[in-house]
Subunit: 428 residues, 2 copies
């Protein structure tokens, strides 16, 4: 079977393999749940908005004939019967949760594209194509790690990297646990999830400028950067900001501020090879005239080089203690996680690259610096992660955008890869 393709991104064959009209429709529909006047989306994990978006997905999946399961981590699976019971599964999806004041594509694109893929495969089945593998659309809980930490909570739980109890006990900044929040929106499921798939595919926005700067439409993700993530607590002592000598103060915010600048400077020791950040900080009591007694903050360190990541992680621990000492306060590491640097399986990268090139798209092999649900599957099953360009590299921002032609190219590539995998043909 071959699929012709014209430069407009629309199919020229008689059968509607690529339905980017449906993609735009689903994206527009999802963006109404938590939609903001600025064009962005604010849909935190297990919020009312997330519940409404999940309901919309569930209704859509049921309408297309899927069997819908919700597991105990709130992950949603839409199982489509292409090859009959007992056949292996290709799983495809992403996440419907967003960052606070986030974009409409991050996560939702992967879920919507998986839905479009399901419809295309069903069309081909009805058209007489004999599939050997079933297809499953998935929406993972709390990929972002914005409301609950760690990120990749749902996919990590599914593959066994995160214990279910720990996942459900993760608490937001108001002390509400993921389990409580999922129950409140009716998505603390009881269903057995499908078994590990034969392959996992995900389409995502790049969130960087490399594809755009290199004129590529499709990014084939071949490696993920490693990351060290630290939750740090600085402890000083409440006192009035007015009376009392400066020397007597034990200011938790001062220690935290020293740490923020030191963690930023750390990145300059390995220019371009190390990304660092502090982006979350909770102050207590956070009153203008009471010296902060406690500051909790989240530190991230990322690199594609394991030696650099290890050295930087070690240096960060020293810098955090030095920052605390400079303010005369204490610093404790409340939690520390490390994600290793790994290559994505060559066979699936080869498949997606071939599919994209057959359709006439310019591809580029890229790293993913950010975490994505697909990374939960590395070492567990063949895994493919496909990027489409982000306009100006804008990410985690209401202005996040991808050109319509690039969205179509991404969907086209995803459908072609899923078609090949579900047909038992890996093109490798």
């Amino acid at each position: 079977m071959s699929i012709d393709h014209d430069p407009s991104g629309h199919e020229t064959t008689g059968w509607a393999m690529l339905d980017d009209g449906l993609l735009h429709q689903l994206l527009a529909e999802f963006s109404t749940f938590g939609g903001l006047p600025n064009g962005g989306v604010h849909r935190l994990t297990a919020s009312a908005e997330d519940g409404a978006a999940r309901d919309h997905l569930r209704v859509w999946l049921l309408g297309e004939g899927a069997e819908v399961r919700v597991d105990r981590a709130g992950n949603m699976f839409g199982l489509f019967d292409l090859a009959g019971p007992g056949a292996p599964i290709v799983m495809c999806g992403s996440h419907l949760d967003t960052q606070p004041n986030g974009g409409k594509l991050d996560g939702a694109l992967g879920v919507a594209a998986a839905c479009c893929t399901a419809r295309s495969l069903l069309f081909l089945k009805r058209d007489g194509h004999a599939f050997e593998v079933n297809f499953c659309v998935v929406n993972w809980t709390n990929e972002e790690g914005a409301r609950f930490r760690p990120s990749l909570l749902g996919s990590g739980s599914y593959v066994g990297a995160i214990a279910l109890d720990a996942a459900l006990a993760a608490a937001d900044d108001d002390g509400v646990t993921a389990g409580e929040a999922l129950a409140a929106i009716g998505y603390l499921g009881q269903d057995e999830p499908p078994p590990l798939p034969a392959a996992y595919l995900e389409l995502h926005v790049e969130q960087d400028v490399r594809l755009e700067e290199n004129g590529a439409q499709i990014g084939i993700v071949v490696r993920n950067w490693g990351a060290a993530k630290l939750d740090v607590v600085f402890t000083g002592e409440q006192t009035h900001t007015g009376p009392g000598s400066m020397a007597r103060r034990r200011d938790a915010l001062l220690g935290a501020a020293h740490a923020v600048t030191a963690i930023r400077a750390l990145a300059d020791r390995w220019p371009g090879a190390l990304h660092t950040s502090v982006a979350r900080m909770l102050l207590s009591p956070n009153s203008p005239n009471t010296v902060a007694a406690r500051v909790e903050m989240s530190v991230e360190i990322r690199s594609a080089d394991d030696a650099i990541l290890s050295a930087a992680h070690e240096a960060a621990n020293v810098l955090l203690q030095e920052a605390a000492e400079a303010a005369g306060i204490a610093c404790a590491i409340a939690s520390e996680t490390r994600r290793g640097i790994r290559m994505l399986p060559g066979e699936i990268a080869d498949l997606t690259r071939t599919c994209a090139r057959e359709a006439g798209y310019v591809t580029m092999d890229v790293d993913t610096v950010a975490g994505h649900d697909a990374l939960s599957f590395l070492g567990r099953c063949p895994t493919g992660l496909i990027f489409v360009p982000s306009v100006d590299g804008i990410a985690h921002n209401p202005r996040e955008e991808t050109a319509a032609a690039d969205l179509a190219a991404g969907l086209d590539t995803l459908i072609r890869a899923a078609f090949a995998l579900c047909s038992g043909d890996r093109k490798a």
Copy 2:
């Protein structure tokens, strides 16, 4: 009239001029509203806890025969008739709002001591003493400035330093205005407040170590430090903390962190003569993996030297801009207030010093670095501010404490001064 006093802090004369049992009772009762297991009190302005504490005060005042008025800023006045209608008033009080996780004495002491004073004066009236001046207990709204800014909202509004509309429109960090919050607890009053008093008296904890270090029981406040308070907004751009070069980032938290360390270092240019702090910071979106787009923070600068305060205020504005530039972001001053350095009126300081010494207490003339409601009256009527020692100088902290003998000495001094003023005798 003379009042004997023994070292235990209890009166030895036949009539109960000093009732420190009532003081401890009232303090214990007030501390139940917002009381914390750690011994502190969390009673933010116009919270439910504040409403309950106000109710308790109102009932007590009514029970003692006061006319209770609540003005449109929520200030509570308990008017005691000592000298008949039309006589001038001595006003005495402080505030029942606290810092988050604050102490049980800051503010509550001044209100409770004013209540004790009222009862003592009423006792003397019934005992036949002829007063020339009436007495008024007052509880000012939002002295702390913790929930709503600026601080001294109620007393500032009463004296006309803050427009009532602006006071009621002040919003907390959730966007709730002071007017809405007061209405919700039933304390957005409609009463006409009493006219400017003939004198204003306030008893407060020192919140510093000077009295303790100098073995003094009573601080006679003779000067207030000036203060510049700035609300600053740093504006960067949301983006993912992972992908994207470090150079492209415009991190509002990085700029804010530079500012925190620079504002702290500023104090070292004038060691001991300049106090600086940043203690409140709001991040947006405050997610671990999205670079902060906006950080709002509150900066305070205090000095007893006007030249230093002016130079430091000017330098702070430069430092804030430099901090923003170092992070490639913008910095705007959202609001800027300046409280001048002023001397407290010598006649009332002389009166309170004389009263304290007559009773055998060691006094010490001190500055107030912190703002207090009494400062709203400077230049408007004779004003006295009396300090009692804070154990270890601990303030804005659940561990805030004052020795019982010092509390009794403070109350004794306050009653003696109020008695003299209400008798038309200033002892000057």
